[in-house]
Symmetry: C2
Subunit: 252 residues, 2 copies
Amino acid sequence: MGDIIAIANQKGGVGKTTTAVNLSACLAAAGRRVLLVDLDPQGNATSGLGIDKNAVTHSLYDALVDDVPLRDIIAPTLMENLGIVPSNKQLAGANVELVEMEEREHRLRRSLHEIKESYDYIFVDCPPSLGLITLNGLVAATGVMIPLQCEYYALEGLSELLQTIKLVRDGLNPALQLHGVLLTMYQHTNLSEQVVADVRTHLGEKVYETVIPRNVTLSEAPSFGKPIIFYDLKSAGARAYLALAREMVSRA
Amino acid sequence: MGDIIAIANQKGGVGKTTTAVNLSACLAAAGRRVLLVDLDPQGNATSGLGIDKNAVTHSLYDALVDDVPLRDIIAPTLMENLGIVPSNKQLAGANVELVEMEEREHRLRRSLHEIKESYDYIFVDCPPSLGLITLNGLVAATGVMIPLQCEYYALEGLSELLQTIKLVRDGLNPALQLHGVLLTMYQHTNLSEQVVADVRTHLGEKVYETVIPRNVTLSEAPSFGKPIIFYDLKSAGARAYLALAREMVSRA
Ligand SMILES: Nc1ncnc2c1ncn2[C@@H]1O[C@H](COP(=O)(O)OP(=O)(O)OP(=O)(O)O)[C@@H](O)[C@H]1O
Ligand SMILES: Nc1ncnc2c1ncn2[C@@H]1O[C@H](COP(=O)(O)OP(=O)(O)OP(=O)(O)O)[C@@H](O)[C@H]1O
Ligand SMILES: [Mg+2]
Ligand SMILES: [Mg+2]
């Protein structure tokens, strides 16, 4: 009940948002009650679920900075079991505004506290940085899921991210665990195979069995504001995220 | 003489570092004197040129926070005409430490002032965010190059980035121009074609003629610490960056 999972990696473009949107949708389709928190000022998770981020009356910024209760901000999506806390560029201001505030790293944790009992899973889509906004995600979370693109630069940043997670666990959030590493954008190339072999050797069963292949339908679906299971259920991308959802449920 | 070009986009994984490393190398191979400034705490541009970012005695952090002169930090690379100002995770601390400092947005501009006459091109590889570190890059620059992945989420963030550039021009750096938008990771898909058509319609000749194709050799080269022209000169990736270098020179 109420697993709060931050989807984080300071390396950009590794599939954080694609994972947040599609894993949430697959678990919701399987009857779980899911909340997706968009913690990125880019607001990609918000638009990936078909919501106009500039038309919402309230967004996550209002909860973090002005203490508006999340239940007044959560927006419905095309799926009954899936709610979203939308974001837009206003959230970028929070990086500076939170600096002077009390318990600045705990704002999201406190906001989620009131509503977390209503959900089976809460996913937090983090921006590509390790600043105060992402820190709020790591402090609020019980677990971290690290999408890792099967490429050299992405692998390079992994040890630093694992170190940051350890620092947060030793300080601000003792309950924080590594939920797992998800290999994404896998192609049948030497580079991809080297990265997969490397990561499985070092991290063992902390790496999900499910590997997400590079699949163009995953990058087409957001332009229709739909998760992959609504855009193209038969695609390799949809099958991979459904397999990941099954793996999540069996690990619970 | 001394064009300072920030390579920036808050969207992650769009090809900022790949462009910074390979365009720098192509211009250096054509006899231009080039400096690459790694403004990203991930230090990908540093390792992309074969330098061990954790073994350097000085890094960009020392110039921004402790006023160490850049000429004492610049490291040689495998190419005679190409120098790099290396970075590593220490730079992440600057986001907080710079907040209290005098002229915090101008630190990089002042550091570059002393050495800029020695280079024909200075490229600044920015991290995927619009915080104080990236702002230093935009204030120091005369032009901004925006790598734009031919995908939906990347296109979504473009108008916000153009607005940020305008704000910087109206305030901190009146000389800042949009040097151009570079279309990257192009594939023969409907999505890529739609993005290219869309961007060319809205931005006209601000979009470089050269389009960088998705090409796996570009993602293999960094694991050998080499620019693409040293790793595989015959590849589509190398041809594309050489064409971009020719276009840069003819635009000058
Ligand atoms: N498995 C995949 N196959 C093909 N394309 C993908 C896949 N996963 C993600 N993409 C596409 O790659 C791009 C980067 O993915 P995404 O935006 O989800 O990454 P991110 O880590 O959230 O990026 P950021 O760091 O900017 O937040 C997007 O355009 C997305 O549509
Ligand atoms: N044209 C291309 N074809 C294939 N792969 C590419 C291409 N350009 C870049 N890549 C690969 O895609 C990944 C993202 O590129 P890169 O790291 O240069 O983007 P970035 O914008 O600098 O990312 P960040 O936002 O994290 O700084 C890297 O693994 C890189 O090797
Ligand atoms: Mg994202
Ligand atoms: Mg980069």
